[in-house]
Structure formats: structure tokens, C-alpha cells
């Protein structure tokens, strides 16, 4: 009897605890009044779920994607850059001048966002002069002046600060001698005149691109020593002049920006508040989108679309592209020999262009696209994106999936099947390990298909994934024979980093590909003062890459981003999903509206 009573008592205690817990949970929704407050907040707040946090809210130092997005909202820019989808060229706009005229109504961004009124390029293309607006102010009321730019460029160029944007200063006077002479390179005759001088003729579009780095307010930063620059509390509490200001930042959790009522560059952001929530787990970001707790989630995987739409019809997927591609890298040179004493000789397996072409033929790239990316993938021929229409060669027919052709090509190269069905040449088996970085579902999917395809033509390919840091380190040190990775291309074509024959100067030429004509074409194209004049060089470049197959280009990826339908006015293009976020508007979400 006692026993039973004791049990009953214990159960009562447990139940009471549970009831207490649940009642406090219910209470979390708050009273009607409190719920109203959070609802109102939801209606005026755009929630963006991000994978990672910002690092420095400082244009000189910002390196993460989140930082760059937010810095773009907090700080003004000298000129507005706009990607023209009809040509694939970047256009630059200022209040009174545009690089290329655009038909009325086709401008996506307001030129009022630019700090410059107009610019003039010197006839010898060795200097560019900007005339700045006199009605632009930092948030503390001080005017934005030309000195701010000179000061900021000195920060960008400081080796102690180690900005990742040092490349932008590569043409300034003195850069060729290893030390930029800022007194000569950047002149500020008065508050509204800013002159950049180059040591060589620079095409106008490149001059605009490289001189439009975001400025910092000199009066706020001038007393910060370079060695203290990265530690300054101002990095966490920035003052800019853009359409938004920083409201609060709980690191690794949430960063909120609020519309800057004082802004005239071009105007205060439409949405009162934008909350960037840091949610490292993909599944949870997806769940947030499905429940309407997040309005934008980047990079939704195609396999999740149907579940998302089913759970929340208020979600739509928007695509951007084509800027990212995956490839299989084949080491063109024998890396062991290269690492040992710098000798360059062809790789025993992948040294011949014919063999690499055979490998591309053997791989059924279309079936990887059909199986994983579906309509969000496009066969890739070379690293010039079809989106860069002005340079893209649309006459190239993709290498077909042709295992028989591959076998024939390999036979010509002396690779014949052995007793076990694996190809052999001079006693060497065609057998290697294909490495990729861990945690990428798309590459895992592709690598399995590649393995099967290669097995079918008698090539033994083992798969191995490595932790990303280790993988990239190995790649950089040329320790891998074959690997799968990807590149995101820049909007200005500059592939020498990846294909340059001087392997010491081209650290990203992991394949060791060398072709003097490619080097030459890249240089010739750079020297042209007009984009379109460089087109013939880029066409030839694509033909050469297509012929040499330094890597097997797999597919271009259309990035797919989840958007809540309560967002209006969004314009996505290759520059990114948040391209015109200050122009977005929010409709009250149906399940939130009272």
C-alpha cells in the first residue's frame, strides 16, 4: 500500500514538473500585448538566415560574405556598379555620367547612390579624375570629402593592415616598383576633386573598378595606428553614410541594421529593419524558411525545393548565375618531380591533352546535371561564363559523353586493357585517387558517377574526401594528382592566376597547365582599352582551353535562393541575391498579419 502511495507521489511530482515546464513554454508566446509587439516587429523586419557571421564591419578588412553584404549597406560607394545582363558587362554610374548609356527605365539601381558626380579619364588613360558631390555626409554630419578616399586607400595599401583588397591598388603610381607613392598616386586638390594616377595606361572600366573601393571617414580613424587597426572597437561599431546603420550585433547570433533616416545616398532603406540571423545548420535554415521565421535563405539545394514549397507556399526560389562551376582537376605535370626540384615534365597519367580529352568524354556530365542540379545546371566548356555574353564563345559544342570515343583515344595514347580490365601502359596501371573536400553533397554525388564512368572505360578511380583546410592545403602544395573542386569567377575576366605558365606567380594553377599562347592572350586582352576589342582574344582563349582540356569542366551552377513572397521589388543578378536590398519592400506576411 505504502509502496503504491510512494509511486503515486513520485509520479505527481514528475507530472507537476512537466506541467510547469509546459506552462512556462506557453507563456513564452506572451500576453496579447507582447505578442502584438513581436508581430509588429516581424512586419517591419526582414529576416535573412546566414550561414556565418560578419567579421569586421569595415570595408578595408571585411572578408566574409556576411561582412561584405552588410558593409555595402552601411557605407556609401564612389560609383554604382551595375551588371548588364544583355552584354554581361559591368556598367558604372554616377550622378551625371554613365560608362555606357542605358535605355530609360532599365536602370536597376539609382545613380544617386554614388558619391561621385562624374569622372574624366585622361586621354593617355594614365589618370582618372572624379568630381564628388558636396551634399554627402557621414552619419555624424561631417561631409564626405576627397581626403577620406586618399586616407582609405593608404589603409588598403598598408602591409601592416594586410587588407585583402590590395590588388585594387596594383596600377597606382609606384606599384610597379613595389611601393605605392601615395602623394603622386592620389591627389586631392580640393574637397570635391579626387585624382588617381597610374603607372601605365589602364582601361576605363578597370580604372573605375579599381578606384571605387569603399571609403572610411578619415576624421574618425586618423588616430588609429595601423598595428591597432584590426583591434579597433570601431570595427564592431562602424560609422558610415549608407542606407542602413548598425542597430545591434550579438556575435554569432544576430546582427540588426536599421534604415538610416538621414541617408541621401541614394535614400533611407525601404525596410525599417533587417535582421541577419546566424544559423550554421542548413536543415535549420531551411526549417526557418518553411515556418516563415526567415525571409531569405541562400543556396537552397534543388532536392529540397518540393518539401519547402509544400510546407510553405509563400516561399519561392530565385536563381542567380552563372558564376560558379565545378571541375575535375588533372595534374598536367608530374608534381613529385616539381616539388622535389622544380623540374617540369608531363604527368604519367594526365600529362597528355588527348588523355584528358578522353577523360572528359568518358564522364557523363549531363547525367550529373540531370540527377542532381536538374534545370539549375548547365554544361561547362571553359571558365568563361555564358553570362559574360560579350566574351563567351557560343559556337563551342560541349564535349559529348562518348565512352567508346574515349577508349579509342586512350588506345591511341598507348593505354590498353590488362587482364583485370584496367588500362595499362608500360606496366603502369591507369589508377588514381580522386580527392574532394568533405561535406559537399553535390561533389559527392558527382564523384560517384565519375568513378563509375571511368571504371566503364577501364580506369580505376578511388574516391577520398578530406577536411577542407587539409584539402586546399594539399592542392596548393600540388600534392594531389586528381581532385574535384570549384571556382567562382570574377565579373572582370582575369584567368592568369589559374592558368599562368609561371607556376610561382600563379599560385592557383594547381594543374600546372602551361601554354604560352594563353599567357599572351590574357595580356593582350588586358591591354585593350575597350572590352569588345578584347573579344577575339577571349574567343581564341576558349578554343585553346577546349582543345587542351587542362581540367574537365563539369557544369555551371545556377545558385538557388529561397525568398519569402512577402518581399517585393527584389532584383537578383549575378552580383548577388542582395544586390538591391535597400530597395526591397515588405508586405505583411499573411500568417503574421492580425
Amino acid at each position: 500500500m505504502n509502496d503504491r502511495k510512494f509511486l503515486a507521489n513520485t509520479l505527481c511530482v514528475a507530472l507537476a514538473a512537466l506541467v510547469f515546464m509546459l506552462s512556462s513554454c506557453g507563456g513564452g508566446k506572451g500576453t496579447g500585448n507582447d505578442a502584438g509587439k513581436t508581430r509588429a516587429a516581424m512586419d517591419s523586419t526582414l529576416v535573412v538566415a546566414m550561414l556565418g557571421d560578419a567579421d569586421y564591419l569595415n570595408p578595408v578588412l571585411a572578408t566574409t560574405v556576411t561582412s561584405s553584404e552588410i558593409v555595402g549597406l552601411l557605407f556609401p560607394s564612389l560609383v554604382q556598379a551595375e551588371f548588364d545582363t544583355t552584354t554581361g558587362l559591368l556598367n558604372y554610374l554616377t550622378l551625371e555620367k554613365k560608362l555606357r548609356e542605358v535605355p530609360q527605365g532599365q536602370l536597376k539601381k539609382s545613380p544617386k547612390g554614388a558619391l561621385a558626380k562624374r569622372w574624366t579619364m585622361s586621354p593617355d588613360n594614365r589618370s582618372i579624375t572624379y568630381i564628388l558631390r558636396n551634399d554627402a555626409f557621414w552619419n555624424d554630419g561631417k561631409p564626405v570629402v576627397s581626403r577620406d578616399f586618399k586616407f582609405s586607400y593608404m589603409l588598403y595599401g598598408s602591409p601592416v593592415i594586410a587588407s585583402t583588397r590590395q590588388q585594387f591598388l596594383a596600377e597606382l603610381v609606384g606599384a610597379d616598383k613595389g611601393h605605392i607613392d601615395f602623394d603622386k598616386a592620389i591627389e586631392t586638390p580640393n574637397d570635391t576633386t579626387l585624382v588617381f594616377r597610374f603607372y601605365k595606361p589602364v582601361p576605363e572600366h578597370l580604372a573605375l573598378y579599381h578606384t571605387s573601393l569603399t571609403p572610411l571617414p578619415e576624421h574618425l580613424w586618423k588616430n588609429v595606428k595601423p598595428e591597432e587597426f584590426r583591434h579597433s572597437p570601431l570595427n564592431q561599431n562602424p560609422m558610415g553614410a549608407g542606407p542602413y546603420t548598425l542597430r545591434s550585433w550579438k556575435q554569432q547570433e544576430e546582427l540588426i541594421v536599421a534604415s538610416n533616416r538621414k541617408c541621401n545616398l541614394p535614400k533611407p532603406g525601404n525596410i525599417p529593419r533587417i535582421s541577419y540571423r546566424i544559423i550554421p545548420d542548413y536543415t535549420v535554415r531551411l526549417a526557418q524558411l518553411q515556418t516563415g521565421q526567415a525571409d531569405v535563405v541562400e543556396n537552397i539545394k534543388p532536392e529540397d525545393f518540393s518539401a519547402v514549397f509544400k510546407a510553405n507556399p509563400q516561399v519561392e526560389v530565385k536563381t542567380i548565375g552563372l558564376r560558379v562551376y565545378d571541375y575535375v582537376g588533372w595534374s598536367n605535370i608530374d608534381q613529385d618531380a616539381y616539388r622535389k626540384n622544380g623540374t617540369i615534365r608531363p604527368h604519367p597519367l594526365f600529362g597528355s591533352a588527348k588523355v584528358r580529352l578522353a577523360l572528359t568524354r568518358a564522364i557523363d556530365r549531363q547525367s550529373i546535371i540531370d540527377g542532381y542540379l536538374k534545370q539549375y545546371g548547365v554544361l561547362c566548356n571553359t571558365d568563361i561564363s555564358p553570362s559574360l555574353k560579350w566574351a563567351y564563345d557560343n559556337t563551342v559544342t560541349p564535349v559529348p559523353y562518348d565512352p567508346d570515343g574515349a577508349v579509342a583515344l586512350l588506345k591511341q595514347e598507348g593505354w590498353l586493357p590488362g587482364a583485370d580490365g584496367i588500362l595499362r601502359k608500360n606496366g603502369r596501371k591507369f589508377s588514381f585517387t580522386l580527392y574532394t573536400n568533405a561535406g559537399n553533397a553535390r561533389r559527392n554525388y558527382a564523384s560517384v558517377i565519375i568513378q563509375q564512368n571511368l571504371r566503364a572505360v577501364g580506369i580505376d578511380c578511388r574516391l577520398e574526401t578530406q577536411e577542407s583546410n587539409v584539402f586546399f592545403n594539399n592542392l596548393e602544395q600540388k600534392k594531389l594528382d586528381a581532385w574535384m573542386a570549384g571556382w567562382a569567377i570574377g565579373l572582370e575576366i582575369d584567368p592568369l592566376d589559374v592558368w599562368g605558365s609561371d607556376l610561382k606567380k600563379s599560385p592557383f594553377n594547381m594543374t600546372g597547365y602551361q601554354n604560352p599562347r594563353v599567357d599572351e592572350l590574357c595580356e593582350l586582352a588586358k591591354q585593350k582599352m575597350n572590352h569588345m576589342d578584347a573579344r577575339p582574344y577571349w574567343l581564341e582563349y576558349q578554343q585553346i582551353l577546349f582543345r587542351d582540356q587542362p581540367v574537365t569542366f563539369l557544369y555551371w551552377i545556377r545558385e538557388t535562393h529561397g525568398f519569402s513572397r512577402r518581399i517585393e521589388g527584389e532584383e537578383l543578378n549575378i552580383s548577388g541575391p542582395f544586390y538591391n536590398i535597400d530597395d526591397w519592400r515588405l508586405r505583411p506576411a499573411p500568417h503574421i498579419a492580425p
Binding site: F6, D34, T164, T283, P507
Partner: protein, 321 residues
Amino acid sequence: MLTYIFKRLLIAVPLIFGVLTLTFFIIRLAPGDPAAFFIQPGISPNVAEQIRAQYGLNDPLPVQYVKWLASVLQGDFGRSFSRAQQPVIEVIASALPVTVTIALLTLAANFIFGILIGIISAVRQNSFVDRFLTITALFFYSMPEFWFALMMIILFALKYQFFPASGLNEIGAENLGPLAFTLDRIWHLVLPVTVLSINGAAGIARYVRGSMLEVIRQDYIRTARAKGLPERIVIFRHALRNAMLPVITLMGSSLPFIFSGALFIEVIFAFPGMGRVTVEAIFARDYPLIIADTFISGSLIVLGNLLADILYAVVDPRIKL
């Protein structure tokens, strides 16, 4: 007892230093480069070199070690490489409150529910209740936490939207009053704490059951019952106290968990806690942060063991320190 504690603490100092020194060298042996992030096309190759110089990674290893030792002895663990060069102590200080809140709630729930279920199972050995609780406990004990967490999110945040899927507070929660804010925080903590504590409680319940069963069979329990003591007193005062010994070991060993954080839960529910700090530091090869984290968890393991030993003596007068 005080001498004993003092001695133990004294031994702990070289031990922890040994651990830190080992960590210092082992992480530098691991492949990967703290400046790897700065090696990409479009970034001048000089940048990685400048960054390495800033971090002091170009010095020979022994020099790096001596410099590090000198600053650690002054209580300075340096600045984080990966988190905008914040002092590592600040990084940890901002992550600790989140982790400690979750861990304390979890531990309380763990032990309360674990001990209760354990007692019930033991007292009602082989009954339907016992079997039911045992099977349920095993079921949850063997479930991977990350999967369980995702299932809970799918069920209670997606399908039935009772609880939020992630985060510590609702949008606009800062406009709420302090009470409503706290309740909102608790509401956000229900799912993660439930996931963590169901798994933990199930384990503790198994320990308590086993240990209770052994104690209940002892002569002195029979004596207590023969004296006519009420069952409640027999169980709680006579049996439970003796059955708690193994549980105390568990309490001691869960101290590091309080401060080291539960990685899966923090990643899945997007809490900026210690687990994430540590793992992200490892992936970024953020040496100062990794060492500071090791210091904290190392010290806590030592302290936890000491605490368990002291608690033994408190609970069991036969143990003399």
C-alpha cells in the same frame, strides 16, 4: 580535507600546463594554415604572408612557444585569429553564458528525471512500469542527439508550430518587458534542453536503477523495513543516499560539459555557445582560441574529478580524504 584539496590543486597546475604545451605543438603539427583563408584568386599573395607575420607564425616554433608561455603566464591568451582579432577571453566570455544556461537547465533536468525514473524502475523492478521505462530509456539513450534534435524540430517547430526552430529569442524580443523576455527565452530553450536531457536522463536512470537494486537488497534496508519505517523514508533516506555514489561520479564528470557546450545542439539550434566556438576554432586553425578552450575544459575536468572525490566523502562517511 583542506590539505587534500590543496595538494590536488597543486598537482593540477603542472598537469594543465602539460596539456596546454602538448596542444600548442599538436595543433601546429596538424596540416592546414591559419592564413589559408587569405589564399584565393583576386587576393594578393602578399596578404597571407602579412597575416602570418601579424600572427607571429613566421618565428621558429621554440620562439613562438616561449612568447606564448610568457603571455599565458601573465594571463593573456592572445587574440583570436578567426574572430576579428578579438581577445580570446572576450570570445569565450560571450559564449559562456549561453552554454552555462543550457547546461545547467539540462543537468538539472537530467538528474531530476534520471533519478526519479531510476528509483521508480528499481522499486517496481520487473513490473510493467519498469519494463516500459527501461525500454523507453534505452530507446532514447541510443538515439543520436543531432538526429533526435532534427526530428524534434521537424515535429514541434515545422509540423506543429509550438516551439521556434532556432535562436535564443524572437524577432523584436528586446521590446518586451523583462518577464516576457525571460519567458520568450525559456520558450526558445524548451526543445534543445528537452533533447539534451532526455538523452542524459535516460543514461542516469540506468545507473540509478542498477545501483538502487543493489542497495535495496542489503540487510540494513530489510532492517529498516522490519523496524516499520514508512517506505518513503526507507527509499529516500536509507537506500537512495547509498545508491547515489555512482551518480556523484557522473555529476563530477558532467562539469566540463557545462562549460564545453553541446556542439550538435548549438549548431542545430543556432546558439552561439562554447561548442561552436571550439569547433569553428579548430576548423579555422585559430591557435590561440583552441588553446584557451583546451585550458578551460582541461581545468574543468581536473576540478570535476576533485569535486566528485569531495562529494564522495560528503555522502559516504566511510571515505576519508
